[in-house]
């Protein structure tokens, strides 16, 4: 007897349709074999399915059982095929009528007591199931509703599935989706006192999509500032929301109530992170990494110099291309990785090296510390600002800062100007069109030439600065030619790492 049930498995952040075929025969000794490239976690289905079937007052056939997961070229990972295998086995052993499950796909993990549990990546799995009705764990209903409007049968246990298939109960159906619950409020920029330059750097980063590096001693509020960035970014559009939700679903990063990620994600991996955790991969599961989880949002790397240099260099290609390709022997998968990179670091090991004369480190220790960051990575940061603890006497008398909503409105307008130029944000302006889209007036040109001559700016840095100048002018409400004041402000948003260069007073000339 044969049972055929459609299901799906996950590779990276992509679902692959799988047909579960179970063959049960009387010939030979009783046995259970599973073929079709299952990995170890997938093989465990035998023990779970057997316990679940027996717990549900059904019979495990004492016969020769063969499970085939087709197509056999795709590696099957994890426990998401459990329910499909159990149902196909019940059909093959004559305990369920084949026509009762025709046109239905099954996704879910089985507990030993027969309960059906959710599995990661439901969004991606649902996408590839054609127009079959989907039987799935109750907890996954919100996720499955995000893609298409197929018939959903949310179930709690294998016994419930069997009862429905035998016609003893009607199949449960998912009600229509209510309005998505309001996301909890994000940390607000109004909480930050003083620090006008750091606040402005956040605004420019959000408006232009420019990567930001904050330098400063411990306790200057770098983490607090960075966590305010998502509240300045525009909320995710429908396509972006699905893109980010798929990654979060597939990677098991957790989804908000309602299932859809609608606010820009904020990911802050610890500096002990391995390159697989950051970039994605793993042996067979091919899980997306933190940089993909930060897609359409913010990746915050605190203590940047404490990350392993090898891990940081793995960021360069995704930063350039917006996707990360993870190649392993088993397969190659591509994850989206388009994020705003915000990093924070101390200028030197003692943390006080920014202030002239303030450092307690030896020269060697400073150089070793700063060499941990490769030049190409540092070049990616269009904005580099020194963040200092505000002095108490500076704090008093300063006005409370603007709230996120006010800044976010300016950011939205600047992003609209960028969209009118054909890019998502000014950071993506093609170098060849800068003369056209970011023209400079005479005073601005003189200022940039001066910065080039004095060595403050490299030829490569010039393009990057011009994009920042464009954003600065857009935020100031000057969509036309760029003035000297915009250039001056953009240049002051780009400090050099002290110690990487000798002090101007002590060089020849």
């Amino acid at each position: 007897m044969l049972g055929l049930v459609p299901s799906a498995t996950l590779l990276g952040a992509d679902g692959h349709a799988v047909t579960v075929e179970v063959h049960v025969t009387d010939g030979g000794l009783p046995s259970f074999s599973i073929v079709g490239l299952p990995d170890t976690s997938c093989r465990e289905v035998r023990d779970r399915a057997r316990a679940a079937i027996e717990s549900s007052r059904l019979t495990w056939p004492v016969k020769r059982v063969t499970v085939n997961l087709a197509p056999p070229t795709v590696r099957k990972v994890g426990s998401g095929l459990d329910l499909a295998v159990a149902v196909a086995l019940l059909v093959a052993s004559g305990q369920l009528p084949a026509e009762a499950v025709a046109g239905k796909a099954f996704i879910g993990e089985l507990g030993l007591d027969g309960r059906v549990r959710p599995v990661p990546g439901t969004v991606c799995l649902t996408e590839v199931l054609g127009d079959a009705a989907l039987v799935l764990p109750v907890e996954s209903t919100d996720e499955a509703r995000l893609v298409g409007d197929r018939v959903l049968h949310p179930v709690r246990s294998l016994a419930e599935v069997v009862a429905c298939a035998r016609g003893e109960e009607p199949w449960p159906t998912a009600g229509s989706a209510g309005p998505l619950p309001e996301p909890p409020p994000l940390p607000d920029l109004a909480d930050v006192r003083g620090q006008p330059m750091a606040r402005y750097a956040l605004e420019v980063a959000a408006a232009g999509g420019h990567h930001l590096l904050m330098l400063g001693p411990p306790g200057a509020g770098k983490t607090m500032l960075a966590s305010r960035l998502p509240s300045l970014l525009p909320p995710l559009g429908p396509a972006e929301a699905i893109e980010t939700t798929r990654i979060h679903s597939a990677g098991g990063f957790g989804l908000p109530p309602g299932g859809l990620v609608r606010v820009p994600p904020f990911r802050a991996p610890h500096h002990g992170a391995s390159s697989v955790a950051l970039v994605g991969g793993g042996t067979s599961l091919m899980r997306p990494g933190e940089i993909s989880a930060a897609t359409n949002g913010v990746l915050f790397l605190d203590e940047l110099a404490e990350f392993s240099p090898h891990v940081l260099d793995a960021l360069r290609q995704p930063l350039e291309e917006g996707v990360v390709r993870v190649a392993r022997a088993a397969a190659t998968v591509t994850f989206p990785a388009r994020f705003l990179l915000v990093a924070a670091m101390n200028p030197c090991p003692c943390g006080h090296g920014g202030q002239p004369g303030g450092c307690r480190c030896t020269e060697g220790a400073r150089l070793r510390y700063q060499r941990r960051l490769s030049g190409p990575l540092l070049d990616r940061f269009d904005l580099r600002v020194e963040v200092q603890r505000p002095r108490p006497d500076d704090l008093f008398g300063s006005e409370p800062g603007e709230a996120s909503a006010v800044v976010a409105e300016r950011v939205r307008q600047a992003r609209e100007l960028a969209r009118a130029r054909g890019v998502r944000s000014n950071a993506e302006l093609p170098a060849g069109r800068l003369d056209d889209l970011a023209p400079l007036d005479d005073a601005a040109t003189r200022l940039l030439l001066g910065a080039l001559r004095s060595g403050r700016l490299s030829a490569r840095g010039l393009h990057r600065v011009r994009r920042v100048v464009r954003t600065v002018a857009d935020l100031a409400g000057h969509p036309g030619a760029l003035g000297a004041d915009h250039v001056a402000l953009a240049l002051s948003l780009r400090v050099d790492l002290a110690g990487a260069t000798p002090h101007p007073e002590s060089v020849a000339g």
Binding site: G354, Q355, E363, V385, E505, S506, A508
Partner: protein, 389 residues
């Protein structure tokens, strides 16, 4: 030079390359025996003989072993020849080697060091002879502020222009800035006094490497002195010895900036031992880089406000020199307000934005104007006022 004298000088040069051979041990080693005998003793690796020679009762096994391995395969005459080929003079203390060097007008052992309480047994010199005129050591921290570096450069320039030889250690920060100043003066007036650099590594081993150009310039324009032979790496124990030479060669030691327990205070200590005057440049009481110098002032050091104060201490001029004419373009109203808000302590863009209440763009423009006009320097996001362009 006679053959035997040459062999003795070669032995001295070879001895100077041994590890952990400080000036006191060096003198003890060559005090009662000839340099050749001392070399034989040091390279033999006999700990008991060494202990008798050095007069210590400590266990010298490790030292004897390290000297024997360092001396292994070293031919003193080849060492001397290498120095002659590289145009590095080997100068022996008169009490160690009586015979004067062959060319009577060539470089000779510095007069001031002959009667020093702890003179180097042998010196290696590049460039001209150590001049006899007035000399001032300008020392300070490597991690200085822009104000400190600017002050050191100004002092170096004006003292050299007034005919005072500037002595320093060619280190990063204050040391380097002082010599840059002295070289500035030389490029304008060839009769400005020549600089003297005293270093802790071999005269060919530029350390820090960032100052290689400065080493070459000082060797070309003045004198570069070291107790270490060619090729000697910068070892930690050599720097305090270098500091004592700086103090011994100077008429006055000026400390421009020093942290609370900075290495330049060691130079001060050596100067006091030798009755050399010590002066200090006052700094902000809030600047960590001026904590050491302000402490010196509190203990009674005369302050240095400009080169004139040093010249008075040297007895070269009476009264103060005039301030040079201001050539910098006068800052506009916004820029002047920013300059006032900046004062003489380092500040970030953000500090200034909060203090002067200008918009960020106006502040950025004002700072660009000030930097371009030479009123302000910017380094690593920190702005500092400059006394001179």
């Amino acid at each position: 030079m006679s053959e035997p004298a040459r062999a003795q000088l070669a032995a001295l040069a070879a001895l100077a390359g041994l590890p952990a051979l400080g000036p006191r041990r060096f003198l003890a080693l060559v005090h009662h025996r000839s340099p050749l005998d001392a070399w034989a003793l040091a390279s033999a690796g006999d700990a008991a003989a060494l202990a008798r020679a050095l007069g210590g009762d400590r266990d010298l096994d490790t030292l004897a072993r390290s000297w024997r391995s360092a001396a292994d395969g070293v031919d003193p005459l080849a060492v001397l020849a290498a120095h002659e080929a590289a145009d590095v003079a080997v100068l022996a203390h008169p009490s160690v080697l009586a015979e004067p060097p062959s060319p009577p007008d060539g470089p000779r052992y510095p007069e001031r060091l002959v009667d020093d309480p702890e003179p180097p047994a042998v010196l290696f010199a590049r460039g001209g002879p150590v001049p006899a005129g007035p000399s001032v050591a300008i020392v300070g921290t490597r991690r200085c502020t822009g104000t400190g570096a600017g002050m050191a450069r100004e002092l170096g320039r004006e003292l050299a222009a007034a005919g005072v030889h500037v002595i320093s250690g060619l280190a990063l920060g204050i040391d380097g800035a002082a010599h840059r100043g002295a070289l500035d003066a030389r490029s304008g007036h060839p009769d400005a006094a020549s600089p003297i650099g005293v270093v802790g590594s071999g005269p060919d081993v530029a350390y820090p490497t960032r100052h290689r150009d400065l080493w070459e310039a000082v060797a070309a324009e003045g004198t570069l002195l070291s107790e270490a032979p060619l090729g000697a790496r910068p070892a930690g124990w050599r720097f305090p010895c270098r500091n004592r030479l700086i103090a011994a060669l100077a008429d006055v030691v000026v400390v421009v900036e020093s942290h609370a327990a900075g290495g330049s205070l060691h130079t001060v200590h050596e100067a006091i031992r030798r009755d050399v005057d010590v002066m200090a440049v006052p700094g902000s009481v809030r600047s960590p880089a001026a904590a050491g110098t302000n402490q010196l002032l509190a203990e009674g050091c005369p302050p240095v406000r400009d080169a004139g104060d040093v010249l008075v201490a040297l007895g070269l001029v009476r009264g103060r020199r005039r301030r040079p004419v201001e050539h910098r373009p006068l800052p506009g109203p916004d820029a002047a307000a920013v300059l006032d808000a900046l004062g003489w302590e380092p500040a970030t863009f953000e500090h200034l934005a909060v203090r002067c209440g200008l918009g960020l763009a106006e502040l950025a423009v004002a700072l660009e104007e000030l930097v371009a006009g030479g009123w302000v320097s910017q380094h690593g996001g920190w702005y500092e006022q400059r006394a001179t362009a």
